[in-house]
């Protein structure tokens, strides 16, 4: 396996639109990197450029130490997996895995050696004679992966391979693929718009929006310290609560119908950053606390909606013109239409500069 380096990559389409804007990203050997973003953010264009299916306008792409800018896809030593389950139903597992080698006219005993080696790595030796439709979904995925591995690629590229599967199966596949990648030490670049998939699978997640790389980091770092307003809103379910606020000199945050006293150490941190006073206050649903216990630092809120999801309950709470979502364990029960007291886990709040949209604290 090899590392992949993307240097100052720009992709401009014929109509002048910039799909990828000066991207710098390096993926170490053996890493599982997820490229995450909404449709049109440039993630697939980036992946296709690494694969050689698109030519970047400027910048370099390296696989290992080799600049591959001018190499056709077939010469780049990559495996591109679009969707799992694209197995040939009339062929045995063995033939499915051997297929790419036969197409490349590899000698028969070499084919046999390589198929058996891959089968051993993936623990599918016992199903080699079977047809794909006789396999469990997990084994089918292993076979699909085996077919990609048998060509001994340097890098695996995957573009939303789990999209067409139902929710339960997708969750199983996610875990299985992650395990295989780590077990085999594969270098993987995986594209998705699904933040749950990205968080659960990636060693690092690279978030893109409008062609610009927003943040790269370990999943929990990106979740806990999003560097831009976009990342904060894109990652997490339910989405992070945001309120436009103004910080006054006394350390109060004012929004419409909403005010909150910031702890002094946070006020000092904000002052150190010397931002302008227009900020966006952000707090995740699990960091909103509900009680019937009115205190100095609680806010009175109206229960506007209750959504029981089984393992948790999501409340929509109204304060003035501002709505907050709070997630709680199902044993916490507040009635719709009542008033409750709300507070925030102040260690875990976020503030962004409203103009630059960058993280302040």
């Amino acid at each position: 396996m090899a590392q992949v380096t993307i240097r100052n990559m720009v992709k401009r389409f014929a109509n002048g639109a910039i799909a990828v804007d000066n991207l710098n990203l390096s993926i170490p050997d053996g890493e599982f990197l997820v490229l995450l973003g909404p449709s049109g953010c440039g993630k697939t264009t980036t992946l296709r450029s690494v694969a050689g299916l698109e030519r970047q306008t400027t910048g370099d792409i390296l696989i290992g130490d080799r600049v591959v800018n001018d190499l056709p896809p077939g010469m780049r030593d990559i495996a591109f997996v679009f969707q799992f389950y694209a197995l040939y139903p009339h062929m045995s597992v063995y033939e499915n895995v051997a297929f790419p080698l036969r197409a490349a006219q590899v000698k028969k005993d070499e084919v046999d050696r390589r198929v058996k080696r891959v089968a051993q790595q993936l623990r599918i030796e016992h199903v080699l004679r079977r047809r794909p439709n006789r396999l469990s979904s997990g084994d089918q995925q292993r076979v699909a992966l085996g077919r990609a591995m048998v060509r001994q690629p340097q890098v695996f590229l995957m573009d939303e391979p789990l999209t067409n599967l139902d929710a339960g199966l997708r969750a199983d596949m996610r875990a299985e693929l992650k395990h295989l990648q780590a077990d085999l030490g594969i270098t993987m670049i995986y594209v998705t718009h699904d933040q749950t998939e990205a968080m659960s699978m990636g060693q690092r997640v690279a978030v893109m929006n409008l062609g610009v790389l927003q943040q790269v980091g370990a999943p929990l770092d990106v979740y806990e310290r999003p560097s831009t307003l976009f990342v904060a809103g894109f990652i997490g379910n339910p989405p992070m609560n945001f309120v436009d606020v103004r910080l006054d000199t006394g350390g109060m945050l004012y929004g419409s119908g909403f005010s909150l006293l910031l702890p002094i150490e946070l006020v000092e941190k904000v002052r150190k950053e010397q931002t302008q006073p227009e900020l966006v206050f952000g707090v995740r649903a699990e960091d909103v606390r509900l009680s019937n216990d009115s205190k100095l630092d609680t806010l009175q809120a109206f229960v506007a909606a209750v959504e029981p999801l089984g393992d948790e309950t999501i409340y929509t709470l109204q304060i003035g013109e501002v709505f907050f979502r709070a997630s709680t364990t199902p044993s916490v029960r507040f009635a719709l239409g009542t008033h409750i007291d709300l507070s925030f886990n102040m260690d875990r709040i976020h503030l962004f500069d409203a103009k630059t949209q960058k993280r302040v604290i």
Binding site: P38, D166, A167, G168, A171, D172, R174, A175, E176, K178, H179, A182, T196, M199, S200, M201, P219, L220, Y223, E224, G233, I235, G236, N237, P238, P239, R284, A285, E286, A304, A305, E307, P308, L309, G310, D311, I314, T316, S327, P330, L336
Partner: protein
């Protein structure tokens, strides 16, 4: 507003039985969600209620009146689909007013009605715009508004949120629930998304292969699924299902690999001793009901995959030949490959007969 009663409805397409003696009562002003996978027969049932399909057998009552032989228009139901089908050249106002104009209402009547509807839907500020200038969620509201002004007996909705992006869908969920409550009308809503069903419904009806599996309050269906299908369809991650058998002497559940056993809680013993297929049971445990044991007790396993989701972490733990998903708060962190012990919260486990697929406790 009206009640809807479906009595022993059967519908076949050729030899394919789409609905098999389906009975379901929807109370006046109730929000009932019909939940099931693709191909379950949900949309067929909705179309039967609407009068768009002929019944092969059974009856449908709207407000105690048998509508079996009534044409769709006579049933006075409003339909809201995924596609909004708004008139692109008309303004929002004109789109909503259209059904009233067709009924030859007077101008002041129309205006009063449109304004009232716009207020409930929070689209008063959009009345002069055209559909193309609206977001998906706003278009959805306009479509709903157009259905509302007709003052139908009930609203039938077929996956209306499917085309919206993830974030908007989450927002519209609680919005639709609020709207239903303010309108005080009967909603019959079809979806394959269990989160949508849990969060919006007064009651959920789970349908699979044309047969109603269970009808109940969301939290009840989640906590007391009557069979394997409901248990594994509702909840994310899917409920862990572990093959085991009952040792009738000790009243222990024994894992199929023989690697571990757990005692059946006292309150379930009597019920379980009456079970017939004691050699083929499935122990069902939700991921949040598996605890990682701090002491050296419990069932030992190793960490196969770690999925950090931000507000929680899902661990896939390999115990014997089974894989068990465990949900923990994000503060608990262990590495892939580590050994640990798990215990089940036995007060919240489920036991199914693997042959009949029915819940025993």
């Amino acid at each position: 507003m009206s009640s809807i009663s479906v009595r022993k409805v059967t519908k076949q397409f050729g030899s394919n039985v789409a609905l098999n003696e389906v009975s379901l009562d929807i109370d006046d002003r109730e929000f009932v969600v019909l939940l099931g996978p693709t191909g379950a027969g949900k949309t067929t049932l909705l179309r039967c209620v609407a009068g768009l399909e002929r019944l092969d057998n059974g009856d449908i009552f709207i407000e105690q009146q048998n509508v079996k032989s009534q044409a769709p228009a006579e049933r006075d139901l409003a339909f809201v689909f995924q596609n909004y089908a708004l008139y692109p050249r008309k303004t929002v106002y004109q789109n909503i007013a259209f059904p009233l104009e067709a009924r030859a209402a007077t101008k002041p009547e129309i205006e009063a009605e449109v304004k009232k509807v716009a207020e409930v839907l929070h689209i008063g500020h959009l009345l002069d715009r055209r559909p193309a200038q609206l977001s998906g969620g706003e278009q959805q509201r306009v479509a709903l508004g157009r259905a509302m002004v007709r003052r139908p007996h009930a609203f039938l909705m077929d996956e209306p949120l499917t085309n919206l992006d993830f974030k908007l869908r989450t927002q519209m969920r609680s919005e639709l629930k609020r709207i239903q409550r303010e309108l005080n009308e009967t909603f019959f809503y079809v979806t394959n998304d269990q989160v949508e069903a849990m969060s919006m419904a007064d009651r959920i009806a789970v349908l699979n292969r044309g047969v109603i599996q269970q009808v109940g309050l969301p939290q009840d269906v989640y906590e007391h699924p009557v069979n394997l299908f409901v248990a594994s369809f509702i909840g994310s991650p899917r409920m862990n299902l572990i093959q085991c058998s009952l040792d009738t002497n000790s009243m222990d559940l024994v894992d199929s690999s023989g690697a571990w056993r757990v005692p059946v809680p006292a309150q379930y013993r009597e019920k379980l001793s009456a079970a017939v297929n004691t050699d083929s049971l499935l122990l069902g445990v939700r991921a949040e009901d598996v605890l990682i044991s701090a002491e050296n007790s419990g069932i030992s396993g190793d960490v196969y995959v770690v999925e950090p989701l931000g507000d929680r972490i899902i661990y896939d733990i390999r115990v014997g030949t089974s894989m068990v998903k465990v949900k923990t708060p994000p503060t608990y962190r262990v590495q892939t490959g580590s050994q640990l012990n798990i215990v089940f919260n036995m007060d919240r486990v489920h036991i199914f007969d693997a042959r009949t697929q029915q819940a025993l406790i």
